[in-house]
């Protein structure tokens, strides 16, 4: 095997893999390189099921497989899924995935059918409950590299799905009715006097009536219902004039038809209904896409814990749902897992990561007898814990409740828009009645047409159609750029925001240490030392270990293998690499093997990790929680737009000040508890500020709920995402800048649309009121105006 360090793509996921790496799988008779044990396991599972045709027919790489066993999947067996269920599958890339998944699941014993819906990434499986369990299906999918979880219809947009189905049918019927009625209407408009006899006109009129009837009674039903609800609330919205216009025009036309004289406007009515439904469709589609992206973020397997039922007698740990834990239970917390409930450590020393809980960027050493808060992540060694309070009363749950309270007091902007709309509608209705009364006195024959023309022409399209279309287009653009807007008011509020508040750890910084510098102390070069260090840390869940491994992977150097590795909590690790003993960790720990004092002091800021062999010091690794590379530019851009940038963090003052200084943020506060952050934002709001908040941790959830508009990092805590208005998908802050730009563009388009609508109404309403416009002319004017406004809004989708 050659030892030349050389890149090769992982055969499964396409990530860089080292040639001659540890993980190889034979596929189609040829050994292939894999980047990680996860991909290797997935590829092996695919090959073992003789499904390796997948690799031949795919057109894109698979997602990197997570691999590993997942005992928590067992909990899905208790969900009462019985023989027929829908699962959401993540990581679909190409046609071959569809084939692979369906074949693999169908091959499971007891599975009767498996059908994958590619459009919404859902897998519908029927199975025999006697022979197969849901967890086996999920495990089989996990084994070939796809994350799946049961689709919970009641939680995720089932309502949106139903609304979409109903709307599609209404839209289709309205479109068909519109086209056909237009067919009948055109000859009537084109025929010169006397060329069309009365019987023919009546026949066409009645045919139009028959087609318009379902359009008015069934297709336009959502508007009728909306209007009725608005009226009962006493707050007339846009649905009221829409419904009144449709009904009045229909009643007027029907009367004319029966009497055999006067105008009919069936064509205008069907066109109007179709256009309105079309704009609803666009809006619903954008919301549906966002809902689906959100579903992927929040699926959260039920939190689990490893219960030691017979402790202190030796026993097998049993996986149970965290909600079943009671005070006094003893649980095992393995490294890499989140602590399920508050408790006291019984056995074991470890280090815990509180970054998501408090914003603290360094891990903390902890030992027997000490309190461990629920929500902390164990990063070093397994510990046993006596549960002090049930999961529902744990630190985590208290933070959830704080966040929920904060969310309830959110400023309600939407109501303002509603009130303005209602006012517009009232004026319009009064005007319509006035016009009708005036013409009734002056020229009764023109009273109906004029009144209907006023209702239809003003068809508050700019307000009821243009603004939602602009928002839908902008939200779609945001989603494409990795910003998931959960609440509809995001864009509007972001544009008006005066203050932008950032969290530090995980938001402005990466939230995990990154190797900044390797200082070689002896004869060995830095790169060689890094290989040894990464080999020693290969099995550790500690963030510092991950940083060293990442640094090695980024340098593309081949990794080594360490033997006889043992670790001392809070100190470091010791092990053999290529037959020599090494220690990696704190200076005092390494001195035990290397002898003497460290030849250098610790570097400034961050954490220093030392590497030494027997009798010699080798290297010092400086690790810092590095700023995200895009953060300085973002802060400058925000300040250039005249927004005040603040930094509120739970980390200690010194670390916060250092970051603030690098970014040019003058107002930075450290040691902020969740309540402090919320109070700070409330104080700003009391002073009239509109506050945008960006955060990632559980400790940010409350303030995210309380800010006027809030963004959660996609890789942060789910709790934070639940309480934010917007989630930045992917890594980094870059999408936030795009969100600011889109908010600006969206506000501009809405202003243009409103300006146009105002101008159009100022000209068209008086014309209609004075009887110059008949309904079909006003319908064309309305359509042209709507089309202009919608096209203007759609420009937003294009921007990159």
């Amino acid at each position: 095997m050659n030892a030349v360090s050389e890149f090769a793509a992982c055969y499964h996921c396409g990530q860089p893999a080292v040639d001659g790496a540890r993980w190889r799988v034979s596929i189609g008779g040829e050994p292939r390189n894999m980047c990680c044990p996860g991909c290797a396991a997935a590829a092996q599972a695919i090959a073992d099921a003789s499904l390796d045709d997948y690799y031949g027919s795919r057109t894109g790489y698979a997602a990197t497989a997570a691999g590993g066993d997942a005992p928590e999947l067992k909990l899905y067996d208790e969900m009462g899924l019985n023989g027929d269920a829908v699962f959401t599958v993540e990581g679909l890339r190409c046609a071959a995935c569809v084939w692979l998944i369906e074949r693999r699941v169908a091959a499971l014993p007891g599975v009767q059918s498996a059908l994958l819906n590619v459009a919404n990434e859902r897998l519908h499986v029927r199975w025999d409950p006697a022979d197969c369990r849901p967890s086996e299906i999920l495990l089989a999918l996990r084994a070939i590299g796809y994350t799946a979880y049961p689709y919970d219809a009641s939680r995720h947009g089932a309502q949106l799905e139903r609304a979409r189905k109903a709307l599609l049918r209404r839209l289709f019927v309205a479109g068909l009715a519109m086209m056909q009625v237009m067919m009948y209407a055109v000859p009537v408009y084109l025929a010169t006097d006397g060329t069309m006899d009365a019987d023919m006109a009546a026949l066409m009129g009645w045919a139009s009536f028959l087609l318009t009837l379902p359009a008015v009674t069934w297709c336009a039903w959502p508007f009728m219902r909306g209007a009725w609800l608005d009226l009962r609330r006493g707050l007339p919205g846009m649905d009221v004039p829409v419904a009144l216009g449709i009904l009045a025009a229909f009643a007027g036309s029907a009367v004319s038809l029966v009497r055999g004289e006067g105008e009919v406007w069936f064509d205008s009515i069907t066109m109007f209904v179709f256009l309105l439904l079309g704009s609803r469709w666009l809006e619903l589609d954008a919301r549906r896409k966002a809902a689906r992206a959100l579903e992927g973020l929040q699926h959260a397997a039920p939190a689990t814990a490893l219960l030691l039922a017979a402790w202190p007698a030796p026993c097998e740990a049993e996986t149970v749902a965290a909600s079943r834990l009671r005070p006094g239970d003893v649980i095992l917390v393995p490294p890499g897992q989140t602590v399920a409930a508050d408790g006291v450590i019984l056995e074991g020393r470890t280090e815990i990561d509180l970054a998501l809980l408090t914003g603290e960027s360094r891990t903390r050493a902890i030992g027997p007898g000490e309190q461990l808060p629920g929500g902390a992540v164990n990063v070093a060694q397994a510990v046993t814990l006596r549960v002090a309070s049930s999961a529902a009363d744990s630190t985590l749950a208290l933070l959830v409740r704080l966040s929920e309270r904060a969310g309830q007091d959110k400023p309600q902007l939407a109501q303002w828009a509603d009130r303005v709309g209602a006012w517009f509608v009232l004026v319009l209705l009064v005007l319509t009645v006035a016009v009708f009364v005036f013409w009734q006195a002056a020229d009764p024959a023109r009273a109906w047409p004029a009144a209907i023309a006023v209702l239809v022409v003003s068809c508050p399209c700019a307000l009821s159609l243009a603004t939602p279309t602009a928002l839908a287009a902008a939200l779609e653009r945001l989603l494409r750029h990795g910003v998931l807007a959960v609440k509809p008011h995001v864009l509007e509020t972001l544009e008006r925001a005066t203050h932008v508040v950032f969290d530090k750890t995980g938001t402005l910084t990466r939230g995990r240490p990154v190797l900044r510098e390797t200082v070689a102390l002896g004869a060995a070069d830095g790169a060689g030392c890094l290989r040894i260090a990464a080999a020693l840390e290969a099995g550790s869940a500690h963030p510092l270990a991950a940083a060293l491994r990442d640094a090695l992977a980024a340098s593309g150097t081949m990794s080594l293998k360490a033997h006889a590795v043992g670790s001392v909590v809070g100190q470091g690790v010791e092990g053999e690499v290529a037959g020599l003993r090494y220690r990696l960790g704190s200076a005092a720990f390494v001195a035990g093997l290397a002898g003497g004092a460290a030849p250098l002091g610790a570097g400034a800021g961050g954490t220093a990790v030392w590497l030494g062999g027997s009798g010699r010091w080798l290297a010092r690794f400086d690790l810092v929680d590095a700023l995200r590379p895009e953060a300085p530019a973002l802060v400058r851009a925000l300040q250039a737009k005249g927004k005040n940038v603040l930094l509120l963090s739970g980390d200690d003052e010194e670390a916060v000040r250092a970051v603030a200084a690098q970014l040019g943020i003058s107002d930075a506060r450290g040691r902020q508890l969740p309540q402090d952050k919320l109070d700070a934002v409330r104080a700003l709001q009391a002073g009239g500020a509109v506050v945008a908040m960006v955060g990632d941790g559980i400790n940010d959830a409350a303030v995210l709920g309380g800010a006027d508009v809030s963004f959660a990092m996609g890789q942060g805590a789910q709790l934070a995402q639940l309480h934010a208005d917007c989630v930045l998908l992917g890594e980094g802050l870059a999408p936030l800048e795009e969100a600011m730009r889109t908010a600006g563009a969206c506000a501009r388009v809405i202003r243009q649309n409103l300006g146009w609508a105002m101008l159009y109404n100022l000209v068209a309403i008086p014309a209609a009121a004075s009887g110059l416009l008949n309904p079909w002319l006003s319908a064309i004017g309305m359509t042209a105006s709507s089309a202009l406004v919608v096209l203007n809004a759609l420009r937003l989708r294009r921007g990159d």
């Binding site: 046609a95 569809v98 819906n117 459009a119 289709f172 068909l176």
Partner: protein, 46 residues
């Protein structure tokens, strides 16, 4: 022009037929997954 007395009712029947066909298709899930069939056709399944 007399043909229109036949053609117009006929057009109504055609519209009704189109709606019936569309509803049937929607009911049977034809519009649920517009991307999948295009991908599936590439794999001949034994």
């Amino acid at each position: 022009m007399e043909a229109l007395y036949l053609l117009i009712p006929l057009s109504l029947i055609l519209v009704a037929f189109a709606v019936w066909v569309f509803f049937g298709a929607a009911e049977s899930g034809q519009f649920e997954d517009l991307d999948g069939p295009a991908l599936r056709i590439l794999n001949d399944d034994d």
